[in-house]
């Protein structure tokens, strides 16, 4: 019997396999990005959303911002921010909203207040100490002076000259 499909069977070369892989990979990447497509009325809103999700910390996974985290909580908060941005709220409003619920820790940039004084100004205090210490070190009497050459050196020099 003759198989009518016989002719169409291809023996794939490495190059062809590679091409297929590339296409599949492209599809996979596409599928992934399709999940996170959000619609904004204008560029300003989109920019604000991006900025805010990068500015706030995911409390569940503390070393990631909301934009970079896949935690459930981060998704919910991204959604909250999206709704707020689309409804026309500004940065201050949204920031206050999150801080009122989750505290200052949600901010990657902590506000300057009494409890954060040490955090903000501590490094400068240390720098001041270092400068004072350094200045004292430089201005104090050096341990070695290139003053009078010692007698032994003088004696050696005399011998060389002889």
């Amino acid at each position: 019997m003759v198989n009518p499909y016989r002719k169409t069977i291809i023996k794939p070369s490495i190059l062809q396999l590679f091409a297929v892989l590339c296409v599949l990979l492209g599809l996979a990447l596409n599928a992934q990005s399709a999940e996170t497509v959000l619609k904004f009325e204008n560029e300003g809103h989109a920019a604000l959303y991006l900025r805010l999700t990068q500015e706030f910390r995911c409390l569940k996974c503390q070393n990631q911002n909301l934009a970079g985290s896949n935690a459930d909580l981060a998704q919910d908060l991204r959604n909250e921010i999206y709704q707020a941005v689309v409804s026309g709220q500004g940065r201050e409003e949204i920031s206050d909203y999150l801080v009122a619920r989750y505290g200052d820790f949600v901010l990657y940039r902590p506000p300057v207040k009494k409890i954060t004084y040490l955090l903000w100004f501590g490094p400068f205090v240390l720098l001041l100490f270092a400068i004072i210490g350094g200045w004292r070190l430089i201005s104090s009497k050096p341990a070695f002076t290139a003053a009078e050459p010692s007698e032994a050196l003088e004696a050696a020099r005399r011998r060389l000259n002889e």
Partner: protein
């Protein structure tokens, strides 16, 4: 005099590090403390009755956020049963981001320590209360002001050393 400065700095640093060993970075101070309980209007997990923080006014009440998908909640459950034994404490549970049937069967399986169980399917109430790690427990005084927040499962020790004295103290306050 000046040569002691490195020594002082060293012990200062040592002090900070020693303190740091004892702190849990996942436990964050809540901005809700000493503020009125955030508003909600939620349905019971069991029937159509609706509840808000005002429903519990006049009593000291405990608000425990839990879910059937939360493993630490199982660990915490025996402590909730103990809290239930405290006279005059209203136990309110919030089933957070859960499936109705899963929540109900979890309570069937382990026992229901709550006087009222509310259902927060979308998690909106959780966000308003600043919940980020289930289980979380809040304690409100008779005026409905948040007085304490516990993040993560309540241990036997927390129960004895923190919660019992606090609840006693709050119950002694005027409404």
């Amino acid at each position: 005099m000046w040569k002691f400065i490195p020594l002082v700095l060293f012990f200062g640093l040592l002090g900070f590090l020693a303190r740091g060993l004892d702190l849990d970075p996942s436990e964050l101070p809540s901005p809700l403390i000493d503020k009125p309980a955030p508003q909600f209007q939620l349905q019971s997990l069991y029937d159509a009755s609706e509840h808000s923080p005002e429903s519990f006014a006049g009593d000291v009440w405990l608000f425990n956020v839990w879910a059937s998908w939360c493993r630490a909640c199982v660990t915490e459950h025996p402590v909730l049963e103990q809290l239930k034994q405290i006279d005059g404490l209203t136990m309110v549970g919030l089933n957070h981001k859960d499936v109705l049937d899963d929540g109900r069967s979890w309570l069937n399986r382990f026992g229901n320590p709550f006087d009222t169980v509310l259902f927060d399917q979308q998690g909106g109430t959780g966000i308003n209360w600043g919940v980020y790690g289930v289980p979380e427990t809040f304690i409100m005084d008779k005026k409905g002001v948040v007085r304490y927040k516990h993040i993560g499962p309540i241990s036997e020790k927390d129960f004895k050393t923190i919660l019992v004295p606090l609840i006693k103290q709050l119950q002694a306050e005027q409404a």
